[in-house]
């Protein structure tokens, strides 16, 4: 066995060969799928629980509070306790609701975020599916989540939910454009949509430095648009607490509510890791071309740590947005997208294409 924290490729091959040595290829494939599924489920649960805790701590510090500090040291078991509470809560039956769709909606939301997560490279070789169209796949799959939100809002037979679902639909459909276009800016620079290649191309400089001005603009646009697409921060109109109580998930309780809750945090994690991968080099260490010694030291930090660190920083930025700004109004939200982000994005792509043609990038 060759377990290497800097490169998981050989480890994966070892597992694959080991399984194939005593199983038929079909069963080996099924076992591998099961292993990956279980690993992802565990990762999903752990990251979800941790993000909820992190959000509560971060917002507490921003608000001069200490946050959860009762369950366990520094309250680290708080979210687990909350989760157990949610599991034990009654699933309220809603009169006159469309039960099939009502029960289906949380699954659509969570499956969409789950599928998108599978394309993210966590470290070298630690990558479930490496599509040649990775970015397009992520955009495509994450756009499915809105169906769940729309179904949830409609099938709860609640007027607040319906308004929340409407808002969310308008919001996600329009902000998907900006997310796609800002990623396209980087695709123009990279010339590929495959995540592994994108990361590999940033070996001697992350794209945010390589593409300098247009890349930074694209990063900001991506950050804003993806915050909007995950229904977070100043763009949480779909669940606008002070207006619509809880928006589309007003009628959900117990584990079904937990699904929405978890999916929201996982979507945040997802867009943060996409941003980290596409703009900040994913698991690639920080390299400065020419400084060989410095680069060697940076290489000693495992890729997974780099990846988690970058993702955590972007998540922190999104939390900073959420806990600083007041909420936008629905028409201002659409104005922001159609009058500001989209034109800026289109011009930015042209700018980037020009930059690539002229070889002005580093």
């Amino acid at each position: 066995m060759t377990f290497n924290i800097y490169d998981f490729t050989s480890f994966n091959r070892w597992i694959d060969e080991g399984l194939n040595s005593f199983m038929s290829p079909t069963w080996a494939l099924i076992t591998e799928m099961a292993i990956i599924g279980i690993v992802f489920l565990l990762f999903y649960a752990v990251v979800g629980l941790f993000l909820v805790y992190a959000e509560r701590k971060v917002c507490a510090f921003m608000q001069n509070r200490v946050g959860p500090n009762r369950v366990g040291p520094y309250g680290i078991f708080q979210t687990i306790a909350d989760f157990i509470k949610l599991l034990m809560k009654e699933l309220v039956y809603i009169k006159d609701s469309d039960k099939l769709l009502f029960n289906l909606a949380p699954f659509i939301v969570i499956i969409a975020s789950f599928m998108a997560l599978s394309a993210v490279p966590f470290a070298k070789g630690l990558h479930a599916i490496d599509f040649d169209i990775g970015i397009l796949y992520v955009i495509a799959v994450s756009s499915l989540g809105v169906v769940g939100i729309l179904l949830a809002g409609w099938s709860s037979n609640n007027k607040y939910s319906l308004i929340g679902a409407m808002r969310s639909g308008a919001q996600i459909v329009s902000y998907e454009l900006s997310v796609g276009l800002s990623l396209l800016t980087i695709i123009v620079l990279a010339g590929t949509m495959q995540f592994s290649e994108i990361v590999e191309m940033q070996r001697n400089g992350w794209f945010i430095f390589k593409g300098h001005i247009p890349a930074i603009i694209a990063f900001i646009v991506f950050l804003v648009a993806s915050t909007a697409e995950t229904n977070r921060g100043p763009f949480d109109l779909a669940e606008a607490e002070s207006e619509l109580t809880a928006g589309f998930h007003t009628e959900y309780s117990g584990i079904k509510f937990a699904f929405f809750f978890l999916a929201e945090y996982m979507n945040m994690f997802l867009v943060a890791s996409i941003a980290a991968t596409v703009f900040w080099g994913g698991w690639m260490p920080f390299h400065v071309s020419g400084w060989a010694g410095f680069n060697t030291i940076m290489d000693y930090i495992p890729p997974f740590i780099w990846y988690i660190g970058k993702t955590a920083f972007i998540i922190w930025l999104m939390m900073l947005f959420k806990w600083t700004f007041p909420r936008l109004r629905i028409d201002q939200l659409l104005t922001l997208e159609w009058k500001y982000l989209l034109p800026i994005n289109l011009v930015n792509i042209l700018f980037m294409a020009f930059l690539v043609l002229m070889h002005w990038h580093f």
Binding site: F61, M62, T324, F325
Partner: protein, 159 residues
């Protein structure tokens, strides 16, 4: 052309104002020294209420288990909510005269709004405010209290 510049100056000022807002929350995030939360059950030992704090109405007793209440009932009359009931008793003093003393000074904490009129209007300053603030009980009847301690008597010379 003017609106063209306005478009960009709007973006610039908008982003600037957002950054200013983020600097406030960001600054507090990195200065945990400014946290104001009190850790309540842990700080119970050194939690000092202000001396005038109106926690509950009490009858002031001195070391000899003596108080200054003669049962005149002014506090009962002054209470807007009827949360005080004075039950007087008549005892025969040493000089043979019967005189009015307090039998039970009943105080319904659950009805009290802490307006302070009983304490202010007491002619012999028998009542005061206690510092106790943890009033939660499981049974409402426990909120009805007898303020004069058992076996207490009136301080001589007050009546």
């Amino acid at each position: 052309m003017n609106s063209f510049f306005k478009y960009f100056s709007d973006i610039f000022h908008g982003v600037k104002s957002l950054l200013i807002g983020m600097s406030v929350t960001g600054r507090y995030f990195f200065s945990p020294g400014q946290i104001v939360t009190q850790q309540y059950p842990e700080n119970r030992k050194n939690l000092q209420m202000f001396e005038r704090f109106k926690g509950e109405v009490i009858m002031l007793h001195d070391g000899n288990n003596q108080h200054r209440c003669n049962g005149c009932g002014i506090c009962e009359n002054n209470c807007p909510n009827g949360s005080i009931e004075v039950i007087p008793a008549k005892i025969t003093g040493e000089d043979g005269k019967s005189k009015r003393v307090i039998d039970k000074h009943i105080y319904h904490l659950g009805m009290c709004t802490f307006c302070g009129l009983c304490v202010k209007n007491c002619p012999s300053n028998a009542l005061g405010f206690g510092q106790e603030f943890e009033h939660a009980v499981f049974d409402r009847s426990k909120l009805t209290k007898v303020l004069n301690q058992p076996g207490s008597s009136i301080i001589k010379g007050v009546e």
